[in-house]
């Protein structure tokens, strides 16, 4: 009670400010069920505003939800709980907006057991001494689908790629031939493996430095399966240099499977799939060590690379090795183009596995993504023309929000 009197004394000076008007609470479209949108008309004379929230009813108890903000603020997205696993959202919430004058103390910053009591005393003093809006109710509604046009179009594109892929796969099974253009960079991989075999030197494979869940690393692992199989068929060696431990474990399985499928399971040496370091430049130094000391005949850099790309590729150039690189990381492509013999640019990286396998099912999947690419290009051209004539239809259609 003493605390309450203290706060009341601090807040009491003058009831100068007027309450905000038109406080309304809405559920945002396609919400996660944890957010409510509040808007109001800011009062002219409030120094600052503070938002109170209750999950029990319009009589309270009230808690400070957000603020204090400058008195001119007129909207807020309120996150009703930050950790829904511990505090699930309530069915309804009630809000009041309190206008504060210049002398009002900020909310107390107490910790532990005192925090709740101090907050209650502060809120009680606020409601007793400062003008506030009436309680307004809001109901958070969680949505099971983001049905905005942008999301639906994206979903439709993904489903289209999947559908086309299955359709082309079915056609391939029935014997329809699928054309795939020649890609010199991928053809060079087989030549590089042949060169390594002739020279009696290993092939060095670097799957980038990103985590396993990155799509470029996944694509790189798929390619590694095909390459290790070819290396085994040529009875050559492959050294895989990994920056991430879990990538090494997967690479170990993939290379082992490649040797097994080629019919040489005993030729596989797990010590050739190496974890170097999870630190970018320590990994670079270690891989450079492999390049300069073991002198691989062919270097294959496929995956996601960052600043180490040029250091690796230039060291490889000094080593006079055949170098084939591929990444979808646009900032590193110029380095690879400058220092490597062949570079796979962007989407080509994702086509390598299908191209190398020559499996009609996989080649047909390239056809599917090509058709969607045509659609995207048409949309780009039409959208550019429409935007040039002042129409924002396509801009809104492709906007992903929320």
């Amino acid at each position: 009670m003493n605390l309450l009197i203290l706060f009341a004394a601090l807040l009491a000076p003058v009831l100068a400010a007027t309450p905000a008007t038109g406080l309304s609470v809405e559920t945002p479209a396609y919400s996660d069920g944890l957010t409510l949108s509040l808007s109001w008309t800011a009062p002219d004379d409030a120094h600052s505003l503070i938002l109170l929230r209750s999950d029990q009813g319009e009589a309270g108890p009230w808690h400070v939800a957000a603020g204090p903000w400058p008195g001119t603020k007129a909207e807020h997205q309120d996150k009703v709980t930050t950790d829904p696993t511990k505090t699930p959202p309530a069915a309804h919430y009630w809000y009041r907006l309190v206008s504060l004058d210049e002398d009002t103390a900020p909310p107390p910053e107490a910790d532990g057991d005192d925090a709740a009591a101090a907050e209650q005393a502060y809120v009680a003093a606020l409601l007793a001494g400062q003008p506030a809006t009436a309680a307004v109710q809001g109901t958070p509604v969680a949505s099971w689908l983001s049905a905005s046009p942008g999301y639906l179009l994206l979903l439709a594109l993904i489903v289209s790629v999947g559908g086309l892929m299955l359709w082309f796969t079915d056609r391939a099974r029935k014997g329809h031939e699928m054309f795939i253009r020649r890609m010199p960079g991928i053809d060079a991989i087989e030549e590089g493996i042949g060169r390594a075999t002739e020279m009696g030197k290993p092939v060095l494979y670097v799957p980038g430095i990103d985590e396993l869940q990155d799509i470029q690393t996944i694509a790189s692992m798929l390619i590694l399966g095909q390459i290790s199989r070819k290396v085994a068929e040529y009875q050559s060696d492959i050294v895989v240099s990994c920056c991430i431990p879990i990538v090494r474990e997967v690479a170990d399985e993939v290379v082992g499977s490649g040797y097994m499928l080629a019919g040489y399971p005993d030729a596989y040496n797990p010590k050739n799939v190496r974890f170097i370091s999870s630190e970018q430049f320590a990994f670079t130094a270690g891989t450079n060590g492999i390049i300069l000391r073991e002198k691989p005949a062919t270097h294959i850099f496929l995956g996601r690379f960052f600043a180490e790309s040029l250091i690796l590729a230039e060291t490889g150039y000094v080593n006079r090795s055949v170098q084939i690189a591929g990444t979808a990381e646009a900032t590193q492509l110029p380095f690879f183009v400058a220092a490597c013999d062949y570079t796979l640019i962007g989407e080509e990286l994702f086509a390598v596995s299908a191209y190398l396998s020559k499996d009609p099912r996989l080649v047909s999947s390239l056809k599917a993504s090509d058709y969607v690419k045509v659609f995207v290009v048409v949309m780009l051209v039409v959208g550019t023309i429409a935007a040039s004539f002042g129409s924002s239809f396509f801009i809104e259609l492709f906007t992903i929000s929320g």
């Binding site: 099971w144 983001s146 993904i158 799509i215 798929l222 090494r248 993939v254 190496r274 596995s353």
Partner: protein, 211 residues
């Protein structure tokens, strides 16, 4: 069975995780966060396997005095010292400790040294790349010279062209450069979708040891 179960698991988990992008419901996000946490735990456990691999690859070479065994010995000693220092310092490793000393006075300078090498590698790679062998290479060379000169203060001070260089450089960076980058991004994004779907739909099986 050895191939079917992973295929079914890949399909179900892949589809479930793609759903996170389209299903905003908080309960769904709780489930996907749980899956991601499993992934983090697996990745952390793999560090132990990575440590074992480092020792398996390097220790025998040191013991047998194979070629370049000295480098591997340095690496193993550094590994052991850092590991012991880290475990000894425990929660206080960010304060004054052997671990912090090793990090600040050994790792950081070595890291910076490796990064600094990049400047020299850029120079040597640029020297090779910027040769006007054909029309495309000549265009690349011309664009590179304009961007390089316009980016340094001396470029703006050049008589007559000094005022125009930064504007032309901005046009090169904002128009042809961005257009090419966006083309790469769009192609790569569609390739990524196709690769993801190939794995989820079970069309791509090379990682499972099957055709």
């Amino acid at each position: 069975m050895k191939r079917t179960v992973p295929l079914i698991l890949t399909f179900l988990v892949g589809l479930f995780m793609v759903g996170e992008y389209f299903i905003p419901h908080y309960r769904y996000r709780i489930w996907t966060a749980e899956f991601l946490e499993w992934g983090v735990i697996l990745a952390a456990a793999a560090f132990v396997l990575g440590l074992i691999n480092l020792i398996q690859v390097n220790l025998p070479k040191v013991l047998k005095r194979e070629r370049d065994w000295g480098y591997k010995l340095v690496m193993l000693i550094a590994l052991a010292v850092t590991l012991v220092a880290g475990f000894t310092a425990g929660e206080h490793r960010d304060g004054p400790s052997v671990y912090k000393w090793v990090y600040d006075y050994t790792f950081v300078p070595l890291n910076a040294t490796m990064f600094a090498l990049l400047a020299f590698y850029i120079a040597s790679a640029a020297f090779r790349a910027f040769k006007a062998r054909n029309l495309e290479a000549a265009l690349l060379l011309g664009a590179a010279i304009i961007v390089m000169v316009a980016r340094v203060p001396a470029g703006e001070s050049l008589p007559v062209i000094g005022d125009y260089l930064p504007r032309f450089m901005n046009w090169i960076m904002d128009v042809p450069n961005i257009a090419a980058r966006r083309a790469i991004f769009i192609g790569a994004a569609l390739g990524a979708v196709a690769t993801g779907l190939r794995v989820i739909l079970g069309l791509e099986r090379s990682h499972l040891g099957a055709d």
